[in-house]
Symmetry: none
Subunit: 204 residues, 4 copies
DNA sequence: CATGAATGAGTATTCATTCAT
DNA sequence: AATGAATGAATACTCATTCAT
């Protein structure tokens, strides 16, 4: 049993190494240009081992995207009770921004979008996990703010969408097209103004 | 001269046919998976003729993207003088939606995003032409509305961004990940509510 | 008749232009790498005209080689009556060297050798025209020298061969392998010594 | 270790097979016309395996030429102490002739010459290895003969050049242009006479 | 269970040659 | 006679996947 357990852990470690190596290559080169032999090399396994763990390039790609999507959990954080709506939004933005960068979310979205026609379920899965996950987490936070009287009662599901939409247009959408996109100097002011718009409509 | 002119027109027709065939394949399969021989076949020319017109797959791809980008001129329309702000926004949305579908903009954006790492200038070009083009056209309309007193004076450049951001999040962003995305039944109400948000902040 | 003659001369001029352009390309790139379209461009004719004059690339190549071979007529000159054997050999060398360079003979030999397996008769033709032509001209000169008593009676056909062999080994053979081969500084002394060897055996 | 060693030997065997097959094709067709797929077929490997061993057609060609050049070691033999100069020259000629034919040197020289413009270093390498190697070996033999008093002291470097030049002109130079060149019936007599010329100049 | 050598189908690109004008 | 656009066959090279050891 111990032996088997050990084997299992070795096997799991290899699997993780493969996913890690594959993630780097897929995010960098996209699905079509990434090369299985390179994945094997970077993961320090043979191609045969690679195929023992993932039966095809598609399967590996799917595993990588699922893994990356699962990693993204940019919780908008537990609000401190005394937080104002504005303060919360700022904290949420900072937290989301951090996770976004750490998890390489922009690159993940790019590959998902690139594979829409060849792997529709995969792209849909990313959309539901990553994108909708955010909607839900933000909606929960908005609900809480309404409960505390920081915001007027309103359709928070819709609010989460357009709130994220405003921010995304400013900071994420351009990054999707420009690999080395940098936040502009006036990012904070712009975020502040977007919050103003939201509060003008839904502030208490 | 007549001969030359005729040759030219034949040549132009072939070029257009090639671009059309290539567009269909690139939008469907992406750059890497599209096959030059298929383009030639669909355009009813030989591969050699294809290469007479475009010196490489990359060059053809760029031409296709440029062509598609140039097609997208979803003018937000000349406002009728008596138009209310709300009416204008609705008209603009309808017009943009139409062009968006006709020109296959979603698919265009997908391929541009897919090629960010391999053809950064191309993706940037699409972003600036298609995406920023919209910002500018909407901003001009917003300026006009301010002038007419339909909106408060405000930073219309910023306003164009977040306005488009709200709409995009609702109708375009999901379509980016789901090939057969259909507008939801309540699309009009949602658009209306987004307009409300904008007017709450910037309405006269 | 005048019209026809004019047409003929225009046609001949084109033919010459084609041969000239083709020669440059074949000598530079060899048969396989030279491109018919380039020949046409350099000769300022269309490819169709090119094929009107030469029915295939092989035919053009053959015409070029024959033309080049015919051009090489490095007569060893009419000996001045009072010339010594040594003086004659020097003059002959100088004359041959000049023609060799002007007619690009080294490059010609290279292409002929390169095409031995694909165009055996052509290579043989070059050999007989260019190489054996030299043997014959030198042999005639040697015969004359024997007649004048400057050399012992001997097998001048053989003598021409080995005489040329010695010189070729020193100055031509290396150039065959090294495109930018330059005559060594001591070329004259070496030529002189080669002549000594010949005279040691066959001098009067 | 045994496994690895075995793999290595299999790999080496394939490599040798590839070189052998490639040599035959390159010598027959020259570089440009030889086809990689044919090499693979003749060597009983797939094209992919071929490319595992040699990263490009050029690399394969170079390996073939190096291999062939290395094979050519037509030692002019250790002179028997009592050998006369004439006897030595005859032995040397016979030995050189044998190697020349076995190693297909004429064909090797042809391809090297054919590739002067596209692969200058390669042609130069053949020249230095094969051609200059002969000079050096003959020069060493000449030096030994001088030491033994069979030849007068003289510039043996120069002597090796013109000696080889005479022989080459008679037997090799024609073969360069005519694939099926056969030694003439009077080859021995001609060789003998060439030796006479050398001895007339440098014999003791 | 791990290896890495071997596979062969697949693709962008070139070029000698032809033909409608 | 001249044009130049069009052809399609040919070829170097790649890569996902398998199998003998």
């Amino acid at each position: 049993m111990t032996l088997e357990a050990q084997r299992q852990s070795v096997s799991d470690a290899k699997r993780d190494g493969i996913i890690k190596a594959a993630q780097a290559l897929f995010l960098r080169d996209g699905f079509a240009k990434a090369v299985m032999a390179d994945v094997a090399r970077d993961a320090d396994v043979s191609t045969a081992t690679l195929y023992k763990h993932f039966e095809s390039k598609e399967a590996l790609f799917e595993a990588v995207v699922r893994h990356a999507a699962a990693t993204v959990q940019d919780d908008f954080g537990a609000m401190a009770p005394e937080t104002s709506a504005r303060d919360f939004f700022f904290q949420a933005l900072a937290s989301a921004h951090l996770v976004h960068q750490q998890a390489n979310v922009t690159a993940l979205l790019r590959v998902a979008i690139a594979e829409v026609s060849s792997a529709p379920e995969l792209a849909r899965n990313v959309f539901e996990t990553v994108v909708c996950g955010r909607y839900n987490r933000l909606q929960a936070a908005l609900d809480e703010m309404v409960r505390r009287g920081l915001l007027k009662p309103h359709d928070t599901a819709f609010g989460a969408r357009i709130g994220i939409g405003m921010i995304k247009e400013l900071f994420i959408w351009p990054a999707l097209f420009v690999a080395d996109f940098q936040l502009p100097a006036n990012a904070l002011e712009r975020a502040d103004e977007a919050i103003n718009v939201y509060l003008a409509a839904y502030g208490a």
